[in-house]
Symmetry: C2
Subunit: 444 residues, 2 copies
């Protein structure tokens, strides 16, 4: 077995994040030893492409094309899975666990889909899976949930957990760019992938929400039952109307514990410009957590990138080396493999305020029809914004009328909108966006 105080690590997947981890473990090895009191030794770098490994100047003796060397090495206690994806990555984590290795991973998709079965396998083998880097990059949010906030019943969690989306929305808001232009710029700057679907469609945020909500509430989450809407259909004009009303748009991952169940969703929503998450710009992430004792706490930092993500991966390695994370993993009842299935509420049960943009025929009485229909569903109007139409604007697309509502049930809003869509006076599809007010603390 390993020498006391000495811990061997294998990094599988030496791409952006894997390379960052290797750099941190080698170049900064002395700092790390001084801060952790542990000798953390990089012993294996497993990949099929060593371009990045060579660019980093990693010792050639570390590079391997097969996982076997790492799994057979009794000095290697920890395997970092940094290849991504949900098939090969899953198989390799299972092999590592079966070989009695602790696993550190940044793979949110895999954990959101298969976390519980992997956690159960880890327990069976007496090891742990750590995944600080899977949510919100370098921000130590998993630790906050598993440790710093342990005395709290969590009431709600609101996260900006996708830096790509936040960069695009920031550009649209601050520079008045269209979604398509902002996406293109983000791709050019390396802030968005060539195929951006998982980010801009909200799927990546849903993965992170599933992981965070499971730990926050100590419940098992059904990823597929999280209503998820991306930023890819947002129109600049709605962001601009929102700004006029004092709001900024953010893609939020939301989890609210209610008496009747857990309300989870990912979607672009308006928040007031004074909201604690409104200033979070560009590629940064932030997660607000509301506990019954602590009230509002918020955690902010870089949500992606080689070295911020490596910071989280290496913190996990250090916690395993110190024995603290394995203790939490073993003893806390919060992990979803030992928790009950959450009662996830449907979108119709969401309670929120709403921004509605109607495209109406320019004739008397239409606003009356709208307010009457909303009123018949018990929905009060909070504000109306209608500008004088510019000269020569055609009637075809209709005149935009923006209405914000008081707090209402989403189901009722949808019913009212469906009824209004049937009216001849509504000329186009109505835009409906949630307005999320600052969560009220319920301090005990």
């Amino acid at each position: 077995m390993a020498e006391p105080g000495k811990v061997g690590v294998a990094v599988v997947g030496c791409g952006t994040v894997g390379g960052g981890v290797c750099a941190l473990l080698t170049r900064d090895g002395r700092t790390l030893a001084q801060r952790t009191g542990r000798q953390i030794e990089l012993r294996h770098v497993v990949d099929v492409d060593f371009t990045r490994a060579k660019a980093l100047g990693l010792d050639a003796s570390l590079l391997r094309t097969s996982l076997d060397d790492a799994l057979n090495d009794p000095q290697t206690a920890i395997v970092c899975e940094l290849v991504g994806g949900t098939t090969f990555a899953k198989a390799l984590i299972e092999r590592a666990l079966r070989a009695g290795k602790h696993v550190v991973t940044a793979n949110k998709a895999l954990l959101a889909h298969h976390g519980p079965e992997l956690y159960a396998l880890a327990r069976e083998r007496g090891v742990s899976i750590a995944f600080e880097a899977s949510c919100a990059g370098g921000i130590p949010i998993i630790r906050a949930l598993l440790d710093g906030l342990l005395a709290n019943r969590i009431d709600a969690l609101y996260g900006i957990v996708n830096g790509t989306c936040n960069s695009i929305l920031t550009a649209m808001t601050q520079r008045g760019q269209s979604y398509a232009d902002a996406l293109q710029d983000a791709q050019r700057l390396g802030l968005a992938e060539a195929d951006p679907t998982l980010d801009v469609g909200g799927g990546d945020s849903a993965h992170k929400l599933a992981i965070l909500a499971a730990l926050a509430f100590g419940q098992r989450i059904d990823l597929d039952a999280i209503p998820t809407e991306g930023i890819d259909r947002l129109q600049l004009r709605d962001l601009q109307y929102g700004q006029e009303l004092g709001y900024v748009i953010k893609l939020l991952a939301i989890a609210q514990q209610r008496e009747d169940g857990l309300s989870l969703r990912v979607r672009p929503v308006f928040i007031h410009r004074d909201h604690p998450l409104a200033w979070v710009s560009g590629p940064f992430n932030a997660v607000s957590v509301y506990g019954h004792a602590v009230g509002h706490t918020m955690y902010y930092g870089r949500g992606a990138g080689a070295s911020p993500t490596a910071s989280a991966v290496v913190a996990d390695i250090a916690s395993i080396a110190l024995g603290t994370y394995p203790r939490l993993f073993t003893d806390l009842p919060l992990f979803p493999d030992r928790a009950e299935q959450a009662t996830q509420l449907p979108l119709a049960a969401v309670q929120s305020r709403y921004y509605l943009r109607f495209s109406v025929e320019d004739k008397p009485g239409v606003l009356g029809q709208i307010t009457t229909e909303l009123g018949s569903q018990g929905i009060s109007i909070s504000s109306v914004l209608q500008h004088e139409p510019p000269d020569g604007s055609g009637d075809d697309a209709g005149v935009p009328v923006v209405v914000t509502t008081a707090r209402a049930m989403e189901g009722n809003v949808r019913t009212a909108l469906a009824a209004l869509d049937g009216l001849g006076a509504i000329k186009g599809p109505t835009v409906c966006l949630g307005i999320v007010d600052e969560h009220e603390e319920e301090l005990s």
Copy 2:
């Protein structure tokens, strides 16, 4: 000894925070057990005044006037010191440690003054001292430094760590109140003590800075060598000039690791309204930490109050019950009793931008004298603000001229100001406040 999974706790001092801890341990005991997997049992409440204990409906059998029962109880593993002060509290912590009890405390003054000797005593006895609640209330910032950010060499730390000061400054800024009026309101609202000196004089922030900087940089800090300036001499007019220039005032606890040493200070400074700490208002606290790998991370929450502080105390209790905190306390080389003494830089070595308000004689050439004198110390001017004097304003107090400088050494600024004070054209004391720009991340 205690039953497995069962941990006994004594709370010493049942005032605001102690009462909050007792409430959390009893009223929410079931939630706590569900979240931690540990039975945490309140076994002793030690005080001489049980007004609060009785108001909380605590079982009379728990109340004691002597610590001895708790120290002699083998089922009690953890003693929470929540009496405050530095004499009686120190003696009681020493007794608890000598009796082999872990100690949880919120006592920043005590730890800032005597932390190292108490930590050393704890180690000698094989127990630990946990103090999450000592800095920034409910925010899990100590854990971030000891765990989540462990892979980082910390470059800098900036904290708004005193809610009383932040409330007063928020009121001055947002409502245009004078310092005296804002203080009085804060006292009426229970946000400031009857004797507010420790808060408004900056001493409390310095205590917290000493504790945080020690762990962040793994160095031993000399509290008395932290230059500390409070908010009690701030004039509303300077806040207003600052606002005109785009700045808000905050009492910041600052720690910057430089090649030549550690620059620590507590003082009211201007930060730009877009600075990540500018929005932190009222009684809330926030701490920005810059790590070489993670970049900027920030932690926000309530810095005081019964239940937020109790959240941190009970998190410490849970971490001791789980065995994770004792492991960090024992194994991490970051605690100041085993660290080297920091090289603390003097105020003259601070590098910053500055806001200077001169009161000058209203005659030609004075601004020229100012810029010449600053220039002779190598200080460039960044902006000048001088309003036309209102009619009938006397010449006695002089005309205000506000100058902001480029980055300069504080020693040079002080030298220039001293030289200028000797000129007849300067009619009154010059106000000098630092302008703290957003720290530049140095991502590896």
